[in-house]
């Protein structure tokens, strides 16, 4: 696991949610922190507020990761999409959840997407995680961006995709006691 290993049991009065994004494309290996946007926070709140248990529905249509080209626009909480998305879905994706019990109880959910060689090209400056949204008071329903990793936030350095190799993105969301 990534950052989970660095968290120590401290205080159960608060839960903390954070995401680490890993990108690999040949020799390019990047790891950075995501930035949450309002729809992500709102839909998470709606789930807690709905006070209903969610069944596990891991259908791949419920979420996706998009790549984008923008390198100049920092993330702000009102963003709902990437600034300049490359509208090419990955060739392969899967989701995995882990739960760690005990004094360092934590949840880790990893969303992984892989684009095969040649299926996507360009200079990557932003990446977005899209989940199926719900709202605290306003229904939404369709997948929307909940979190973003961007060059403009200094989360990583823009890179040009090596089209002779696969590109993979692993988005690791962790929920821990703060």
């Amino acid at each position: 696991m990534l950052e989970i290993d660095k968290f120590e049991y401290a205080d159960t009065t608060e839960l903390k949610l954070f995401g680490i994004v890993e990108i690999e494309n040949g020799d390019t290996k990047i790891r950075g922190r995501n930035h949450w946007v309002g729809t992500g926070l709102g839909t998470l709140a709606a789930f807690i507020g709905s006070t209903s248990g969610a069944s596990v529905n891991t259908a791949t249509s419920n979420w996706y990761i998009l790549l984008g080209l923008d390198t100049t626009t920092p993330t702000n909480v009102t963003m709902s999409t990437l600034v300049n998305p490359i509208r090419i879905g990955p060739n392969y994706k899967y989701i995995q959840g882990n739960y760690y019990s005990g004094s360092t109880t934590a949840v880790s959910v990893i969303y992984t997407s892989v684009w095969y060689p040649g299926s996507v090209s360009g200079t990557i400056g932003e990446i977005g995680l899209y989940l199926t949204l719900t709202g605290v008071t306003t229904p939404v329903g369709n997948p929307g961006m909940v979190s973003r990793l961007s060059v403009a936030d200094n989360s990583f350095t823009a890179f040009t995709i090596n089209t002779s190799l696969s590109l993979s993105v692993a988005w690791n969301i962790n929920l821990v006691y703060a």
Binding site: I30, W36, S55, S103, V107, V109, Y177
Partner: protein, 200 residues
């Protein structure tokens, strides 16, 4: 090229989930911070692993499945607040119920409860979820030393496979979160449990 930028945390990198509990009983007023237990953490995690086309099991509809994503479900059957008398047991993450509930387990239900939620993407406190419960005068008695927020817990694929009403968070005198007191049975007792989601 290898980059590791995870040490550069900034505002917006985290979402903090915090709970504050207010207890009112006649002249007695207490405010304290809750402690989350693992069931609370699991059920939030189950949202993430769902990926997340949320299909919720709603007992209100006789066991049929509904899609919560379309509407805020505030059915009172899906959550509750219970009281307890324990004053010596500190909260641990593995707790699944109050230590010594007032009334038959999980406890005497409040006479009324209500829920409200507000959201503003640009506010410094973007999300405020408020769970409110009131016991009429004389319906509960004894020493109040612990209070529990029960949510509809999902553990599927995160250490379990069930859905049930369970303890998600606890406020206790043993944690130093408030001072235990004897309930004034001549006055109503109100618990207001506020959960805030903030950028951190």
């Amino acid at each position: 090229m290898e980059e590791y930028n995870i040490e550069k945390a900034s505002v917006g990198d985290f979402i903090g989930i915090r709970g504050t509990v207010k207890i009112e009983n006649g002249e007695y007023i207490a405010i304290g911070r809750n402690h989350w237990v693992s069931q609370g953490l699991q059920t939030i995690g189950s949202y993430l692993i769902s990926g997340t086309n949320i299909t919720a099991y709603n007992a209100q509809y006789g066991g049929s499945y509904i899609t919560v994503g379309q509407v805020m479900d505030t059915a009172t059957q899906q959550w509750n607040i219970y009281l307890g008398s324990d004053t010596s047991t500190t909260t641990t993450v593995s707790m699944t119920s109050l230590v010594s509930p007032i009334g038959s387990s999980p406890g005497t239900a409040p006479n009324t409860n209500s829920f409200s939620g507000t959201y503003s993407a640009t506010s410094s406190t973007p999300v405020v979820l408020t769970f409110n419960a009131t016991w009429n005068a004389g319906t509960v008695s004894g020493t109040l030393g612990e209070v529990g927020l029960y949510l509809y817990i999902s553990t599927y694929n995160l250490g379990g496979s069930g859905y049930f009403l369970g303890l998600a968070s606890r406020l206790s005198a043993a944690d130093g979160s408030f001072t235990a007191f004897t309930i004034n049975t001549a006055a109503a007792l109100t618990v207001t449990w506020t959960v805030n989601l903030v950028y951190a």
